[in-house]
């Protein structure tokens, strides 16, 4: 199809880039959301988040391809399993290090991530898999832009999930209690908040979100054991948005996604992978707390 005006082509390209950028950005946002949830509730930075995502994607793949389970059931199963795994992880390991310096805990999650990757490579090998979904290879043309259903599923899923979680944290009793437990564990105990249960719950939710992100990402990217390295970009997204802010994670993710696609299209080769980080550094130099983060000074 040829356009009547050359300008329209450029516009279509830009629109297409925006759409794709939004979709990629939403994935980053989802992973970032996982970081933010854990951080909000326990003030830990979970470097294993990307690897949980990888586990989620593999689990779903296993159900769909090996056992022939339907996509939606497999999705639910994968999310449930990974969420359960997150809770168990908290109950057995992470809970024991709470109260130790943040640095040690960060290192702990890095160690866990390495173990997960190692486990995945032993269990599933180093091949690359493709997850078939109901959205696969379908697209609708809207005003000259190919709207892939996969991308739509990603965007809709992400926005809905963010809204639900935001409401949960801001308006429900349990959500508030989680925030309380992160801000002052001792006082939370004094209020009768079952802090340990809260932490397991948040790990379950966050691992579940990672699994959803993994399943949504799987058709776009491919599944292999290094899928988790998307976590590095998601870090940039979370920090850009301001660690600890749920809308911040989404906005940060979308920003990174758009920057990445546009720099890939219009800048020389090599910029695609680093543009996001350059922007991150620039933003942090101006606003060290990220776009939506708040710095509260310690009272002295």
């Amino acid at each position: 199809m040829r356009s009547a005006h050359p300008g329209e082509d450029a516009l279509d390209t830009i629109l297409q880039l925006v759409l794709n950028g939004l979709a990629v950005g939403c994935i980053y946002g989802l992973v970032a959301l996982g970081f933010v949830l854990i951080y909000k509730a326990t003030e830990l930075v979970n470097f294993a988040q990307g690897d949980l995502l990888m586990l989620g994607a593999f689990t779903c793949y296993m159900f769909v391809v090996w056992y022939g389970v339907g996509y939606w059931v497999a999705l639910a199963l994968a999310v449930a399993l990974v969420a359960l795994f997150g809770a168990v992880l908290d109950a057995t390991i992470l809970r024991r290090v709470i109260g130790q310096p943040q640095f040690s805990v960060v290192m702990l999650t890095i160690g866990l991530g390495a173990i997960f990757r190692s486990f995945a490579s032993i269990a599933w090998g180093s091949e690359i898999y493709t997850l078939p979904t109901p959205f696969s290879a379908r697209a609708t043309r809207v005003a000259g832009v190919a709207v892939s259903h996969e991308y739509v599923s990603i965007i809709v899923g992400t926005v809905a999930l963010c809204a639900v979680l935001y409401a949960f944290f801001t308006f429900t009793r349990v959500g508030l209690a989680m925030q309380a437990a992160s801000q002052n564990q001792l006082a939370a105990y004094y209020m009768g908040i079952p802090v340990k249960l809260m932490f397991s719950l948040i790990w379950a939710i966050s691992a579940g979100v990672a699994a959803i992100a993994g399943v949504l990402l799987a058709p776009v990217s491919l599944i292999d054991i290094n899928l988790g390295f998307i976590g590095l970009k998601a870090f940039a997204a979370a920090v850009l948005g301001g660690f600890g802010s749920i809308p911040g994670a989404l906005v940060g993710g979308v920003t990174i996604g758009l920057i990445e696609l546009f720099s890939g299209a219009y800048l020389p080769q090599g910029f695609k992978d680093v543009a996001a980080y350059v922007v991150l550094l620039v933003v942090l130099a101006v606003r060290p707390q990220g776009m939506f983060g708040a710095i509260v000074r310690k009272k002295v």
Binding site: R96, G111, A114, S118, L232
Partner: protein, 380 residues
């Protein structure tokens, strides 16, 4: 328990606590000097321990003493390595000048990273250094004229003042000399006002500031000093591996350096060295074990039946040869350390020392962990 009876304030300024401690270190040095005669086959590995020791000190200054956790230290190592190699190969400068340049350039980059990092804390700083490292890795890949890009860059053996120092033993002594030098310099800084200011920043920025510590100056100087050490380590590292490529200096290497600091024991130079020994020698131990473990297990299993031995051997052998195993093992060790010995190897070492020096009065309770409760660190 040995108590040191002090008669002068000057005694508190010495690097060694007393003569006994100094003599132990002299003994250790003598041991290291004769080591090449004892295990000539492993000298290359021990040289790597020394180089990693430099990296450990570097990260210990920044993360352990100043409280600034960097996830991008491999980038400094890379910058040091490439600068050195570019200087001695492409520019034809003398070896010593190459090392000095590596040191100076990384220190300058350290200042550049340190400046925007001044206002950041905690996670933000770590992620910013991570971003920096990823950018540097891309630069190393793309700046082919200097770095050779993805094709890489071969590195000659070191020749210092016309003397060939590429032999295993010679290189071993070069690395040892640099390590001792770095330890001395760092020890000096840590017993001087600068070191105190660093530690103060780690413990309470606001109190440090009210005592007259200029946060900007000291955070930047910590970054610069740490980077400079990394630069020197990079120069030696280049010779150790003999070939530079951008994918050596990855985030995973940065994480290995952090692993060193944690496993060794945060907040002490001893810890940095213990960690270096651990991280540099663990792969050696793992590869030895890879060969040995299947045979042991099959020997154990063989009484069970005729084929049990052979079957076990094959199964175990296949398992240990899986490529993904080693990082997982590293991860497992890291997890176990943080769970059971958060003070690291050095912490364990101190406990053992205390046990024997107070024998038989050692109380288990001395190091028992109380229930501890986290409070938001966002209010710093």
């Amino acid at each position: 328990m040995r108590f040191v009876f002090k008669t002068s304030y000057a005694q508190d300024l010495e690097i060694f606590r007393d003569d006994v401690q100094r003599n132990w270190y002299v003994a250790l040095l003598v041991g290291l000097l004769v080591l090449p005669l004892l295990i000539p086959a492993y000298l290359v590995d021990v040289s790597l321990v020394f180089i990693y020791g430099l990296c450990g000190i570097s990260l210990m200054v920044l993360a352990g003493y100043t409280g600034l956790v960097s996830l991008g230290h491999a980038a400094f190592l890379g910058i040091g390595a490439y600068t050195h190699v570019y200087a001695i190969h492409d520019l034809g400068l003398p070896w010593v000048v190459g090392v000095a340049l590596a040191c100076a350039v990384t220190a300058a980059v350290g200042v550049l990273v340190g400046l925007p990092a001044l206002r950041m804390t905690g996670v933000y700083l770590s992620i910013a250094t991570l971003a920096f490292a990823l950018i540097i890795q891309e630069v190393l890949t793309r700046w082919e004229r200097v770095t050779g890009g993805l094709k890489g860059k071969p590195v000659d053996k070191p020749v210092v003042f016309g003397i060939y120092l590429g032999g295993d033993a010679a290189f071993y002594f070069v690395c040892l000399a640099f390590l001792i030098g770095a330890l001395w310099l760092t020890g000096n800084l840590l017993r001087a006002p600068t070191g105190r200011a660093w530690v103060a920043i780690r413990d309470s920025e606001i109190a440090a500031q009210s005592m007259g510590v200029n946060l900007a100056v000291y955070k930047t100087s910590a970054f610069a000093y740490s980077a400079a050490l990394m630069g020197v380590a990079g120069a030696l590292f280049a010779h150790k591996i003999g070939f530079l490529a951008p994918d050596i200096f990855t985030v995973l290497l940065s994480i290995q350096f952090l692993l060193m600091v944690v496993v060794g024991g945060l907040g002490s130079l001893h810890g940095a060295l213990f960690g270096a020994v651990f991280v540099a020698l663990l792969p050696v131990a793992i590869s030895q074990a890879r060969d040995a473990v299947p045979a042991w297990l099959s020997a154990l299993a063989s009484p069970l039946g005729k084929d049990a031995g052979a079957a076990t051997f094959l199964a175990v052998d296949r398992f240990v040869k899986k490529p993904g195993l080693e990082p997982g093992l590293f991860g497992l060790i890291l997890v176990l350390f943080i769970l059971f010995e958060p003070l690291g190897i050095y912490g364990r070492w101190r406990k053992i020392q205390l046990y024997f020096s107070t024998f038989p009065l050692y109380k288990r309770a001395t190091f028992r962990r109380q229930k501890s409760y986290m409070r938001s660190e966002r209010l710093r």
